[in-house]
């Protein structure tokens, strides 16, 4: 099977070829570069939604309910679930496909033609997503899935990977587990576009909500103040101000608050489309992606070409200097 056929298959909705394409890309087989280049023009139509939060907050339930809700609204949904690989063995327990079980055992998302679920191991990558998650999302995009949910194992600061791939980031929290600690992690406030307090029927939900709203308001004020002081980009300020980060309450396993969450997600999409932020984000992402791909190639080239040099006993600083001088020459 050649790359052309696979690309054709992905674009025309052949699930099996989509699955195969994802494997090729995930494993970085030689044909993956050509594959990505060929499908890239077909991307950019999907709304990519990152779902992040500590283990146990109910991310998978929310992913499942959101999928149901989007399906109800007639949208096709792709889901990429990333789980941590063991740093020692490389193995992983993946993709709790239970996410596909709706509340109604009769409405089965497992066999829904407009739902595609794929699990990925982080395979050594830190930050909550795998190295190739971005490319896998692009494949689902090219295959025509309108909403793509990306679920990461989040813990706030360390899970910024989701920013690389998502247009909208939803951060899930819950009451009872050291709320203050969760909220105080600056990372969470910055990466989230929408905040959800799940299991909000539990005690402590009010507190988390209050804290969160307070911290977010500080965040806004700070931004305004800072922008007055420094020469911050006007556009960046507008970006932060045009979208007031909502805090929602859900009881996901009872389906409470899901419609509202879906509404906010849609609203965010509309806002960032309108104010050009979506385009900007995507340009930024493409830029970073290009740099990363180039650097990686250069990296492997260096290891290949300068193997002998690298094996010699010179101090790394001098060695680096040598290599850079050589590389820049040619």
């Amino acid at each position: 099977m050649n790359v052309e056929e696979i690309v054709e298959g992905v674009i025309s909705g052949n699930r099996r070829l989509l699955a195969r394409a994802i494997t090729i890309v995930e494993n970085e087989y030689p044909e993956s570069k050509e594959l990505m280049r060929k499908i890239y023009p077909r991307t950019g139509n999907a709304h990519v939604i990152g779902i992040t939060g500590f283990p146990g907050v109910g991310k998978s339930t929310i992913v499942s309910k959101l999928t149901e809700e989007f399906r109800r609204r007639g949208k096709s949904v792709g889901i990429v679930a990333v789980d941590p690989s063991s740093p020692f063995t490389g193995g992983a327990l993946l993709g709790d496909r239970l996410r596909l079980d709706g509340a109604d055992v009769n409405k089965n998302l497992w066999l829904d033609e407009k739902v595609f679920f794929r699990s990925m191991g982080s395979r050594g990558r830190l930050g909550g997503i795998a190295k190739k998650t971005g490319d896998v999302i692009k494949l689902l995009d090219a295959a025509g899935y309108e909403k793509i949910l990306v679920e990461t194992v989040g813990a706030g600061q360390s899970e910024i990977g989701v920013l690389e791939v998502a247009d909208t980031v939803v951060v899930i929290l819950m009451p009872e587990t050291g709320d203050d600690i969760q909220v105080n992690k600056a990372g969470i406030l910055e990466i989230g576009d929408i905040f959800v307090i799940n299991k909000s029927d539990l005690e402590g939900a009010e507190n988390v909500e209050r804290w969160l709203k307070y911290m977010l308001s500080l965040d806004e004020e700070t931004v305004i103040e800072l922008s007055k002081l420094s020469h911050a980009d006007d556009a960046k300020i507008m970006q932060k101000l045009k979208w007031k980060k909502p805090v929602l309450r859900t009881i996901a396993d009872k389906g409470v608050g899901i419609k509202e969450l879906a509404n906010e997600i849609e609203r965010h999409y509309e806002v960032i489309k309108k104010n050009g932020i979506l385009q900007e984000k995507r340009r930024e992402k493409a830029k970073l992606s290009a740099i990363e791909l180039a650097v990686e190639e250069i990296r492997s080239e260096i290891i290949k070409r300068y193997k002998q040099l690298l094996d010699k006993e010179i101090d790394p600083y001098t060695l680096a200097d040598k290599i850079v001088k050589e590389v820049l020459k040619c």
Partner: protein, 563 residues
Amino acid sequence: MGEMVEKIKEKRKEWEEECLEPWLSKSEREIKKFETLSGIEIADIYDPSDIAHIDFLRDIGYPGQFPFTRGVYPTMYRGRLWTMRLFSGFGTAEDTNRRWKMLLEEGETGLSTAFDFPTLMGLDSDDPLADGEVGKCGVAVDTLKDFEILFDGIPLDKVSTSFTINPPAGIILAMYTAIGDMQRVPRDKIRGTIQNDMFKEFHAQNTIVLPPEPSLKIIVDIFEWGVKNVPKFNLISISGYHIREAGSTAVQELAFTIADGMAYVEAAIERGIDIDKLAPQLSFFFNSHNDFFEEIAKFRAARRMWAKIMKDIYGAKDPRSWWMKFHVQTAGCTLTAQQPLNNIVRVTIQALAAVLGGCQSLHTNSFDEAWALPSEEAVRVALRTQQIIAYESGVANVVDPLAGSYYVEWLTDKMERLAWKYIEKIKEMGNGSMVKGVLKGIENGFFIREISDSAARYQKEIEEGSRIIVGVNRFKIEEDLRIPLLKVDPEVQRRQIERLKKVKAERDNKAVKENLEWIRSCCENNENVMPAVFEAVKSYATIGEIMGTFKQVYGTYRKPIII
């Protein structure tokens, strides 16, 4: 007494220093640390100093008296042997009826029903999800008609029947009661057990249909109805067997079973049921696993704990309410596919433990069950195992013969203490309420995780070779593993579906519809569903139709995946 203990402790120390250590330094031991299967560290030897904290009158006493450590009846097997009750069922009702008659002829003293998976899950034989599973691992039952055939020629006033059934337990109880009525057996002579324990399904066995709360509600409905209508019938078999089969340790089996029991009792009290009326209709079901003395200690600890719980915690006044009556099954998970005849030996040891532990009824596994359902030959040997223990070995001739053994009393006490720790933890999860604690543990995966971890640990020991399974990771042979096995007739599904069609065509469908409506309204109005279920059953409503009605109101449930 204290002085004597001091002297003994001294002598022990002397023995260790002057006798044991020199011996050990000369010979190498293969195993360095000795533990029971549950991981309780055990010493070389036990003496009176190890049980000095145990008071004979308070903790051991005499059988038939609080705390019943030594047995619930004064004479135990000298008065009446345990019931030899072999779990059986396959194919259609006729097939099972035939096997039952054979077992009764061979000397079995009680019946025990194995249902097929569709029936266990509340599905009819013609349900698409039942395809390929009808009659395979138990008997297929869809309507009362199947029960009429199942019990053809079996007098309900002479034989007690146990039913391993959980979500549809109320339906099965209604069917059995209806058969009793048909045979004109007085209601208070109808004896048997329905397993009816949904908690352990959520912990381990997984035949789940409805979510936890409605499942509990129906169980209490059955208690209420059963106490009034079938006063000699055990309305629940609070089970540890399955928890153990899923991989738990003996301590966890003991603790979780008793915790579940406490939760059921609390729920019954909350409903306003008189605990002294209900208690005699509660029973338990334990596993009998490989570690001989640990199992015996577990059974004795269980009795003592339950007696204290019923008397001191729940305030039951009638001494009969303090009795823990239990059925035991030898551990299915210990049966090996390799060298199957070895299983006869395993089952014998496990059965012996159950008898020395004072069980009220016993099921012994057949040696071929790691391959298929038991063949006639294999099931006969399983029955003979019990009969040989009963009639030839002499162990049944003295009540609780191991009492006073330093090791056994020490271990009984130890297991009790460890189990209490778990129970306290569960109680804490429920802020002082066992019902809330168990439900919380189901919700947050506490039980599943504990059991899963134990199972993984056990397997690790086997993979590493530190736990020896004879014939599997040691003493293996090249063998032709072909042994004659029971084959279930592939026509069973077709025949059963035909029968179901016929019943549905010939019954009064209007009455069925009305009765199902009645059940539905009982659910919606939070009333006891059993009277409606009973009428529905008599009108030949199917199990699938009745369970379907429950599902409509209460929804369904899928277990979280915790590996």
